[in-house]
């Protein structure tokens, strides 16, 4: 472990990846507090509709963050995470319809999340790259298929309606605050996981699986654990999304939902802390707000995605950091801050 830290920590690649280091602490704190203040003020300056949109964005951002954890640190791109979210959502919805107490509902949701995550982990832990993507895609589609076909329990295509949030978070604004708190806790937790020795090993596996194996790391076990952790956050997102809609149907777990989570990550910035939130905000605002005024919203989303991949491969967050660095370089007359270096191509 120590030898690994020694080699990896010295590498420059680590620092700008999160975009947090290398800038004065004060600026960073000010930005965070301004954003927090804005998020807290939202229910007081706008209407219920926009507050609900805020809840939806934060809940979707948690799902995107769970995909980001695997994809950013582990290089494991999942196209099936909506399936895990749906498992949690259906667990909650079904037990709510059956009249279970809140704690039991959450227990069922947690149990299903862990079960499905474990299945995801078992089938995918020995794969990587495109194979990992295909296996998670298939696993996600199985979750969708079960929700779609097992109509006696899941309501089939029609889903389950009439689910109510617990009393304390029933009003839209308390629910918003609850989602916000959970989002912040999840983001901090994922950040700490990413910075932990566990996260370092994941990054090592991403960069060179064979080297990590030769160092004696049990690769499959690490991938399995990463999937369990990531799956847990996907499950949290699933519960929040169902509470938001007070409804669940198979579209929560379909391929489009999984793909949207990935698009949010790539658009916002793969492997960045704030990327999932930025990506979720953009995708949802285009999907829900722009579509009111403009029929071709999906074209806009597609064009933005392509433009982001070409011009800002590190997503909007990464692109923003480069831009700030460039402007600062211009203003101070110094050469621009070093552009985010390319990730070393993996495979060893």
């Amino acid at each position: 472990m120590n030898s690994l830290k020694g080699t990896l920590m010295d590498e420059k690649t680590l620092a700008p990846r999160t975009g947090l280091r290398g800038r004065p602490l004060l600026v960073r704190l000010i930005v965070i507090f301004v954003l927090l203040a804005a998020a807290l003020a939202l229910p007081y300056i706008t209407t219920g509709y926009y507050v609900s949109l805020g809840s939806l964005i934060a809940a979707s951002a948690i799902l995107a963050a769970s995909v980001n954890m695997l994809a950013g640190d582990g290089g494991l791109v999942s196209l099936g995470h909506a399936g895990i979210a749906a498992a949690a959502g259906y667990g909650l919805a079904w037990s709510a319809k059956e009249g279970f107490e809140l704690w039991a509902q959450l227990l069922v949701a947690l149990g299903l999340t862990l079960l499905v995550s474990a299945l995801f982990g078992l089938v995918s832990m020995r794969t990587r790259g495109v194979f990992f993507l295909m296996v998670t895609l298939a696993a996600g589609m199985i979750c969708y298929g079960i929700a779609f076909r097992w109509s006696a329990v899941t309501g089939g295509d029609n889903g389950l309606s009439g689910i109510r949030r617990p009393e304390a978070i029933a009003p839209y604004w308390t629910f918003y605050f609850a989602v916000l708190v959970i989002f912040i806790i999840a983001t901090l937790a994922l950040y700490m996981i990413s910075r932990s020795p566990f996260g370092l090993v994941l990054r090592g596996i991403r960069d060179s699986e064979s080297r990590m194996r030769s160092l004696g790391y049990p690769i499959a076990a690490y991938k399995f654990s990463a999937m369990m952790l990531s799956g847990f956050f996907a499950g949290v997102a699933g519960v929040l999304l169902v509470w938001h809609a007070e409804f669940v149907s198979p579209t929560l777990g379909d391929f489009i939902a999984s793909a949207m989570a990935l698009i949010m990550v790539v658009l916002g910035g793969l492997g960045t802390v704030s990327g999932p939130l930025v990506g979720a905000a953009i995708v949802i605002l285009i999907q829900q707000v722009l579509s009111t005024h403009f029929d071709r919203w999906s074209t806009v989303l597609g064009a933005l995605f392509i433009a982001s991949v070409i011009f800002a491969p590190k997503g909007l967050v990464g692109g923003f950091h480069s831009l700030v660095g460039w402007i600062r370089g211009r203003l101070t007359g110094k050469p621009a801050a070093p552009h985010i270096p390319k990730e070393p191509k993996s495979e060893g």
Binding site: M9, I32, F33, L36, A37, L40, A41, P43, Y44, T46, T47, G48, Y49, V51, S52, L53, L56, F148, R149, S151, A152, G156, D157, N158, G159, S161, G162, P171, W173, T174, F177, L180, V181, I184, I185, L188, Y191, M192, R195, S196, L241, A245, E246, F247, S249, P250, T251, L252, I256, Q287, Q288, S291, T292, D295, W297, S298
Partner: protein
């Protein structure tokens, strides 16, 4: 390093919790300012939730056309009110449908919601509308919305698929003297309902179903299934396709296997709607179908509607367009009867239920509503024919009046049973 990060995270968390506690103390201002200004100078706001994008986009186009046409003809006026229509796209997806509903209700303060058409969207929207006490004239095939999940705020003024429409197909097949039948439907809620309606009415009337085939959602090439039908040796075949590519796939395969020449085929309205007919062409001639509306229905109101529709859009009106037009008719009549009183919520639903049976110029014919807010309307058995101008359309063969969502069954018994599924295929 680790400690520094943990410390920073802890700091942020503490600061946030403090801010959160402060913020949560005062109830947000939005809570008080939510009340909508009532009666804004005689404007009656209608929020239409339609699938304008996504896989069901064609239904959104047709519904918009039918709705617009009515209000163009009536100068956007219903009684003392000026109708203001606000369109929203649900992207054929329930999460979006729900967000758009929130916008229509909270931001636009609509007086009534019309739509949506997809079953899962409709269930999500109706639940929210009920909680907000906003009337919802829904257009969906989700039977449960007017059965097990019935709400005083939700009225099904249109139901384009589901089990109700296909009762007439089963009754017709039995009335024609066909003793044995085979069915083919997609293997999910839409298909279970379609085949369920046919099978319930057909078995009730003494017929016998020898074979039931189910194909997975999204299947376009149905030849392996239709080949089994070709050797089924039955008197009549029921096909409950979604009206998408599976409808064309069914008609082409049935034509190739010679079924269309040898065995009568009856389908749901979706299979012989204008899009599949245009693609399949002449092979579809003579196929029977059942629906609440037929383009070739002979009545004054339909002659006028069809002529205006064809002139405005250069297309033959579909069942969906007719449903939107009917909904507009019902809303107009309810608001006209109200004598200037702005009807919303439960009052509007009750008013529509009252005016419908008295009206004699409704597009679908004689329409009323049952106690569960489901539509009771005539069902037309239709046949595909070629019009003088070469276009294919559906003309009326036979009419079954006053068909309710329970057919001839007792509502209590019906509701005690589960919804149709793979195992429970008929009442």
């Amino acid at each position: 390093m680790q400690r520094r990060i943990a410390k920073r995270g802890f700091l942020a968390l503490t600061a946030f919790s403090a801010a959160f506690l402060l913020a949560a103390c005062a109830p947000p201002g939005a809570q008080q300012a939510e009340e909508a200004p009532a009666g804004e100078g005689g404007v009656y706001k209608v929020g239409l939730l339609l699938s304008q994008t996504g896989f069901a986009a064609s239904t959104g186009t047709d519904l918009t056309r039918g709705w617009d046409l009515y209000w163009q003809q009536h100068d956007n006026t219903a009684g003392d009110f000026t109708i203001e229509s606000i369109y929203e796209d649900d992207a054929s997806e329930p999460e979006t449908a729900l967000t758009k509903t929130q916008r229509l209700i909270q931001e636009e303060n609509v007086d009534v919601l019309v739509g949506p058409i997809l079953a899962n969207n409709a269930l999500a929207v109706a639940d929210y509308a009920t909680q907000s006490e906003v009337a919802n004239l829904t257009q969906t095939s989700a039977d449960d919305l007017t059965q097990r999940e019935s709400s005083p705020y939700v009225l099904r003024t249109g139901a384009f698929a589901g089990s109700q429409a296909t009762f007439a197909a089963g009754a017709w097949a039995a009335d024609e003297g066909y003793m044995t039948a085979a069915t083919i439907c997609p293997d999910y809620a839409f298909g279970w309902d379609n085949c369920g309606g046919f099978a319930s009415a057909y078995l009730e009337a003494g017929g016998e179903i020898t074979q039931q085939l189910w194909y997975p959602q999204g299947t376009t090439d149905l030849s392996t299934y239709v080949a089994q039908l070709a050797s089924a040796n039955v008197d009549v075949i029921f096909a409950g396709t979604t009206g998408g590519t599976d409808a064309v796939g069914f008609m082409q395969a049935a034509s190739n296997f010679g079924i269309l020449d040898s065995t009568p085929v009856v389908t749901g309205a979706a299979t012989t709607s204008s899009a599949p007919l245009a693609t399949a062409g002449d092979i579809s001639l003579g196929i029977h179908s059942v629906g609440y509306y037929a383009e070739g229905l002979e009545s004054d109101v339909n002659d006028e509607f069809r002529a205006a529709y064809e002139e405005a859009y250069d297309a033959i009106p579909s069942v969906y367009a007719s449903g939107a037009y009917l909904t507009a008719q019902l809303l107009d009549k309810a608001l006209t009867e109200a004598n200037g009183e702005k009807l919303t919520g439960e009052e509007l639903i009750e008013a529509v239920k009252t005016v419908a049976p008295e009206a004699d110029d409704l597009l679908w014919g004689k329409v009323s509503f049952d106690e569960y807010n489901g539509v009771v309307a005539p069902l037309y058995v239709r046949t595909v024919e070629k019009r003088d101008d070469g276009k294919l359309w559906n003309v009326v063969d036979k009419t079954y009046d006053d068909v309710s969502q329970f057919w001839t069954f007792e509502p209590e018994e019906w509701l005690a049973n589960p919804t149709f599924n793979q195992q429970f295929t008929h009442q």
